[in-house]
Symmetry: C2
Subunit: 427 residues, 2 copies
Amino acid sequence: MAKTNVSAPSGFPEFSPAQQRVVQKWKRTISEIFEQHGFPMLETPLVERAENFVAKGGNPKEMYVLDRLLREDAVDQEKDQRAIRFDHTVPLALFVARNFNELSFPFRRSVIGPVLRGERAQRGRFRQFDQCDIDVIGSEKLSLANDAQMVAIIAQIFEKLMSEQKFKIKINNRKILTGFFAAFDADPTEFKKILDFVDNLEKTPNAKLAGHPIEFQERILEFVEMSGSADEILGKLKNFSDHELFQTGVAELSEVVQNLRAMGISENLWTIDLRVARGLDYYTGTVFEAIFTEHERIGSLAGGGRYDDLAEVFTGKKLPGVGISIGLTRLLWQLFDAKIISPERASSSDVIVLSRSPEVFSKSLEIGEKIRNAGIPTEVFFEPKKIQKQFDFAKKMGIPCRVIVGDDFVVECDDENLRAMISDLVK
Amino acid sequence: MAKTNVSAPSGFPEFSPAQQRVVQKWKRTISEIFEQHGFPMLETPLVERAENFVAKGGNPKEMYVLDRLLREDAVDQEKDQRAIRFDHTVPLALFVARNFNELSFPFRRSVIGPVLRGERAQRGRFRQFDQCDIDVIGSEKLSLANDAQMVAIIAQIFEKLMSEQKFKIKINNRKILTGFFAAFDADPTEFKKILDFVDNLEKTPNAKLAGHPIEFQERILEFVEMSGSADEILGKLKNFSDHELFQTGVAELSEVVQNLRAMGISENLWTIDLRVARGLDYYTGTVFEAIFTEHERIGSLAGGGRYDDLAEVFTGKKLPGVGISIGLTRLLWQLFDAKIISPERASSSDVIVLSRSPEVFSKSLEIGEKIRNAGIPTEVFFEPKKIQKQFDFAKKMGIPCRVIVGDDFVVECDDENLRAMISDLVK
């Protein structure tokens, strides 16, 4: 046997077959919910010109580019440097720029697929991971009802996939935060640092904000820890500061709340949380993120927000948008790791047909076809092995229903309804 | 406006939103049929160690490897060269090698996703394209019923997706071809050339086989053009040569035919065609490919075959397999180009809710929720635009049903059944 290193490169994860059944279920469900809300799947290339990724803020230190294994002999030399996508938003910006005149706005799309980042590989952080995104892009303007819809969609996804787990979608508006700081004459160049500080408060509650008097920090905390029902918080905010940007943010947040109610989204599922700022620089209005209330250390289940500028650098046009991103690989890896979810059986078959002897094999094939034609995923054990070996295989694969074909046949299922249905089909 | 080149890099295709609706339908249908036959989706990393791809025959001239845009500053230097997958079979071999002791054999998996090849970009040939594959891997042995199942699966896919197009799955066995050449004492080192010659006969029927007397070429043609029903061809083959390998191939082909009949696959859908050899070097038994009988120039719709050795170089174990590959991007690109299929409407919504005035917007949201909760993909037009603009949008997106909300509401559908159902839901 050759001494080859067959291990997967560091940071390129792979789920077990039984875990992948869960991954696929999540992808299918998320995609269905996206499409049910008018966000059809739109796949964009894995690769774009590196200069365009850099123009939209891609980190050159983490960006992968394509090279050839044999550069000199390559069948065709590409002149431009081509980089692999590190998110789905910049490829969307390029797609919109390329197809601007053919698209109708508001333009909606969903995408589920891998992105690559050359980060330092560590436990639970990967270099390749699937992201599930939707975005809606307006031409010049985009109604705040879209922001509420994002919250509604996240709620529906986690109600469907994790009904046994309590989750909460925390909502905020960046204009309230930036307006608050402006009202206190904090240096605008410090905003980012202060937002990062606020963003990290939950992780490090005793941190001090360097370069500011302790009173300033106390007023920030007083502000962001404002709590109560949505109406209570909105009422407090209306009287907290008359700074224009601040009040624009409050008005936007009120409108989002109003739309959430009109959409019938239960107030148990969302809350205003003034600490939510989201890491990314480009959010300019509504921001939100979902957490499991009983497993906060899992971190963000889904997040997103409103941005003013999708693709101005490419199109010269004002294209505001709002979107969601679910870091699926990281999230499922953590949920498996914390045993909050479990792998399913590795097989996709509900039924396996076993043959007591090679003589009945043709009959087994016919029976398999019959059950499968009724829409039930079915496999036939094809190999001429002893019946006990066939049972062992069926058990190891966790297939819940076994049809054993001999002179006659026996239907054996873990579930009585399934057994009755299969027996009916086969007889 | 910045003068940026936003075009997609050459060879990295992107379908229009309306075309992508078709692409997604194909992917979903293919995946469902794969899973119905016991082939669950198993996604393997985009990236593996380059040396392992080369060990399994990857072409170094076309192989893409990862580099960093800023190599010197990269956050973490990878020591090994990591290449991007050029097919799904070699990543499967590595997956099996990594997880050999946890897997049950026969091991089945499906995969649908992009592969990258640095080929010369040209019309209809891409550097990134989706392939839809299944493989079943045996430990030491693998029944020929698996080969028949591959043909059955291809038949079901094209019956479901292209019921209006006649297709045919051509089946052959490489042992018959290699046995035939051995029986005529042709130089074994010439086999590949002769197989390529046979493989290309349809494209260039007047070609001459260099380095062989014309009589030899005539006997080859007489052999490969053998026609008739499966039983007629098998009967002729049994008496054609008593070369051992040749007769092993004939026996295998007979067994595949027998299994196809037991599976109930109509003989209109497949045929024995001794010209089919398949390009790839590693096929050793059954080979097959599907074509549209009225659009032969579209080329192979799906193809595949049996191989003796999946991963011996990695595992030291004999792992025979049989698989299918559908080059989905290339196929759909050609079908669109030849107008054999058409784009669908760009939207995923069956219903759009329009508002005659901002005052009724909350009511529109409620109505939208009601219809969507009944499982019908529904969007609400959120922007405060004139009703005519809303109609224009609905029309451009091709959404077949419009609910217009004013003091009362009107349901307007392209389809009367849908109209009745929606009216019922909303009232």
